[in-house]
Amino acid sequence: MNLFSRKSVASVILPSPSSSSPEAFAQNSSYGKGFYEPGQYHVALKRCENGHDLASQLCEMFDERSQIEMAYVNSLKTWSKKWHGELVKSQEYGTNKKVWDQTVTTGEQMADVHSTMASNLSDSIIPKLRQWRKDNYEKSLIHYKKTKEFEKDFDSVQKSWTKLLDKIQESKQSYYQACKTLKQTEINERNATDDDQRRKLADKVDVAKREVSFARTKYEQTLKDMIDQRPHYEQQMAEVFQRTQQFEKKRLDFFKETYSEYGKSLDINNNPILRKMYDDYQQNLQTHDSQQDITWWDQNYGTQTNCRWPEFEEYREEK
């Protein structure tokens, strides 16, 4: 199954399993073992615990993103405030000034858009993640309660099984030992120098043969016991395991929800604030009228100003 079939874009590192991820088959030390083998259930426990860390990582990632957005928001707001002030002081006038002012306003509007995104992250997504993590990963001493439960259950199911396996090992060893002894005794018999010795050793060989047969039966019996027990064992292990699977599935589903919510907050195309910013600006741009501005200026400073012209001033006696 190829999970990573996407085209690479400049800044993307093509995702490939690193040595520590569950997918790095060759290098992962847990790989290639059978689940039912002793102790191997620990990989399921580890997965449960990882869920906590993964949630933390996701929180961290979103938090960093939220901060980046807020930094941007603040820069834009500062810029906007500054330039409103600058414009007011400037020598601009009329509709031209108004439109310029509107361009500055886009700064704070854009800031609002990103502010929404940031607060979506910090006020909705991250708290939800944190709450979920808290609910599912209650801690008791150094372990999480849930994982401790699972561990206990796996342990108790596997206890008797491990005993069986030990018995098998033991009986196998005894059997091998008996075989070795037989071999050795047979060699000794062959090498016997006199008949008396040979007879004694022949007896020994018989005993050894009986031992081997006895040990072999015992060995086979322990294996049979194991085979009998196996379905029950498997079923019990599977049952505990299914519970870990459920626990994990819940996590995966929750993460999916989280990604989806995040995706929505990125989708600014249908953002009403952006829409309004666009509309305001368009409207404003329509009012730009350089002819009007020029005319206004002419009225106030140009040819239409009230001029004082020299006129005849009658002499007035200064008394």
Partner: protein
Amino acid sequence: MILQCIMSQTTPERILSNPWYGKGFFEPNQYKVAIERCKNGSDSCGLFTKCIQQRVNIERDYIGALKKWSLTWQKEIQRCQEYGSNKATWFASVIAGEQHSHTHSEIADKLENVIEKISQYQKDNYSKSYIHTRKVKEFEKDFEQAQKGWLKLIRKLEDAKKLSDEAKEKLTKSEPANRAIQSDSGVSDEQKRKVKETVETLKKESAAQESKFNQLNEDMNNARPEYEKNMTTVLNRTHEFEKNRLEFFKQMFQDYHDSLFRIKPENLEKASTDFKKALESHNSTKDIAWWNSTYGTGSSAGPKFEGTINT
């Protein structure tokens, strides 16, 4: 917006406090307000450039931060304990998050184009190059030229008025004394005659000055249409110059708008589509099943009989 400002006293709209306001354009030196406006145009260009440049810087900082964040988290996700479609979706969410940087990159690039245009306009219209002299200097020269003759007339008129007034004053002062002397029996006729003559001279003088003044006044009235016409012509050229600037600024505002809003929606759309696809492929059942077959109950299990070497 404009009403909010209490700060500056000298903007063209702060009418009451603007020292240029309330004067007549044709009055001496008042044309300078038109020259001021031209010069201000250049400052406006500089201001506009600065304004947008600062905006561009903000965008670039944002882009840098996003890219860094993206790279960091791509690495983290690669290393982490996630697996399956969940991992792929997580990865996709980082990529989607980075798409914004592409959009903003586009915005920044376009804004920089606007800056270039403004700089060019400023250079073309306000700087001294070896082919064009500063347009503003031209206007100033032409206004001065148009007003030169007029100023002379005004001065002449003022001088004439002064002389006329002086003459009148002298006359007025002399008349009561004359009357007194004429009716004084103790004064000789010779003296009476002399005084009378002085008064007559003063009368003539006053009349002459007044006549001169009137003539100059009439000259001025005659010269006025021509003067107004000349001044208006130059003023209209400054109007044209300013209108040109205003139109240019309007175009720049349009470009600014396009930089912000006419970004290729394809980029964001693609990002959206890609991410939605990744979300759809998220399959927790599948992931669980995979894990199960690799590490769970589907993995090989159970010891088998291992016979001895030679049995």
